[in-house]
């Protein structure tokens, strides 16, 4: 199974600025001073190996969208944030306009940043495609229709050419779709959100975004730990610092890197991927949060080592 991240930013899509790019170039040139970088291969090697990721790359700014590639013709996605547009264009480039495609989309919830990519998802406009949208909310179809309705968008939902279906899932009830065993979990978030545990070929991936964890609630913590139990990858909402989530941003429905590490350690998950980045955070800030999270794992490690990554638009993880 391969997991591809098309959108990793929380709440609002953001774009890197001209000043940001200039800052990266200045840092890169300073780091290059005195080195022999006379060929393109030398430069590429320097950029890949010697520059910090936050200087040579960017974490990106698209809102939530993650692809689970299980090697079948059908496509599986989590959420339809603005990353869905990049994903759709990529599929079009690979398969062309005339290949009918089926998409299975698991929606965490209906807040705008998780569905706003759908009006720009090219396959919705092409006859012959099938899009099945799964989620726990009863009002899924209405939410999608409303974001296409005037005055929000010029093309009404009724004019979309793809066959679009909505399937409501029940929390805790394991179902099989698109070659995956899927268990949804109700999460703490304004208007509710749903996490998903996907299992296939002996591997387990958990997609858990927009979820607040009040870890002093021992019963709720045990439930989440069981949901994460022995997962090969946990994609986790780490938008805020722990201090923020228990003070000014309490009940905002998000979590922290600290809680992500704790839950994954308790669950003996193998890989934690920090996700749903705070939109005001720069690349350097996200990289610094990752470094701190790696250190936290190191100083709190028992007999189980947890791998930790920070998601970026374009990241691919083999599971």
């Amino acid at each position: 199974m391969r997991v591809r991240f098309w959108g990793t930013r929380g709440s609002l899509p953001v774009s890197i600025t001209a000043e940001d790019i200039k800052g990266k170039i200045v840092e890169a040139l300073l780091a290059a001073a005195g080195r022999n970088l006379s060929s393109r291969a030398d430069v590429e090697s320097f950029v890949e190996r010697d520059l910090p990721f936050a200087i040579s790359h960017t974490y990106g700014g698209n809102s939530s969208c993650v692809e689970l590639d299980i090697g079948t013709e059908d496509h599986v996605l989590c959420d339809l944030g603005t990353g869905a547009r990049s994903f759709g264009l990529n599929v079009l480039a690979r398969k062309g306009l005339r290949t009918p495609c089926t998409f299975h989309v698991f929606i965490s919830h209906l807040h705008w940043d998780h569905i706003m990519g759908f009006p720009f998802f090219p396959h919705a406009y092409i006859p012959g495609n099938r899009i099945v949208i799964y989620g726990g909310h009863a009002g899924m179809e209405e939410a999608f229709r409303r974001q296409h309705a005037a005055p929000c968008f010029p093309v009404d939902f009724s004019r979309l050419s793809a066959k679009i279906e909505f399937v409501q899932l029940a929390p805790g009830r394991r179902v099989r779709h698109a070659g995956l065993d899927i268990t949804p979990k109700l999460q703490l978030h304004s208007g509710d959100s749903y996490g998903y545990r996907f299992e296939c070929g002996g591997k387990a991936i958990v997609y858990s975004t927009d979820s607040e964890h009040k870890t002093d609630d021992a019963t709720a913590t045990r439930d989440v730990v069981e949901f994460f139990r022995n997962a090969d990858l946990v994609i986790f909402d780490a938008m805020y610092s722990l201090a923020d989530t228990v003070s000014v941003k309490e009940d905002w429905g998000h979590s922290s890197n600290v809680v992500g590490v704790e839950l994954c350690q308790l669950a003996r998950a193998r890989h934690l991927c920090l996700y749903h980045h705070e939109p005001v955070h720069s690349d350097l800030k996200i990289a610094s949060v990752l470094q701190e999270t790696l250190r936290l794992e190191e100083i709190t490690r028992g007999d189980h080592t947890l791998r930790i990554s920070s998601a970026y638009d374009g990241l691919e993880i083999a599971v």
Binding site: L242, A243, V246, V258, L296, I299
Partner: protein, 124 residues
């Protein structure tokens, strides 16, 4: 996990020992909060002595945040001292260094909060 207290004049030094995680956070909360009942402007000030705290998880930090909020609302003073290196790093990573004034030792905190308490702690 153990919570004990010693009074020096108007300062209560509350010592926390052991590990705090999601299993005993409620117990910690029940043990700590009664010591904060008189922590308000013109009354007690509280020093949390964390020198014997080996580990604190998010659930324990949440209790500390509740304590800090209660004391702030009463316009009292609550500080933390003598964090072990691991606990200090956890405070830094979770941004709790922005929540608490931290001191290196009980004596440093007493000197900053109350000269009378500092003198008493020296047996004066």
């Amino acid at each position: 996990m153990q919570v004990t207290a010693v009074r020096y004049a108007d300062v209560l030094v509350v010592a926390v020992k052991g590990r705090i995680d999601y299993m005993n956070a409620e117990e910690f909360k029940a043990a700590l909060l009664p010591y904060l009942g008189n922590c308000s402007a013109g009354r007690d000030q509280v020093v949390l002595d964390l020198s014997s705290l080996e580990y604190v998880s998010s659930a324990g930090l949440r209790v500390l945040m509740i304590a800090a909020k209660e004391v702030r609302a009463a316009k009292g003073r609550l500080v933390a001292v003598s964090l072990q290196p691991v606990v200090r790093e956890i405070f830094e990573i979770s941004r709790f260094t922005l929540v608490f004034d931290l001191f290196d030792s009980v004596q440093d905190a007493l000197r900053a909060l109350s000269p009378r308490a500092a003198a008493m702690s020296h047996g004066g």
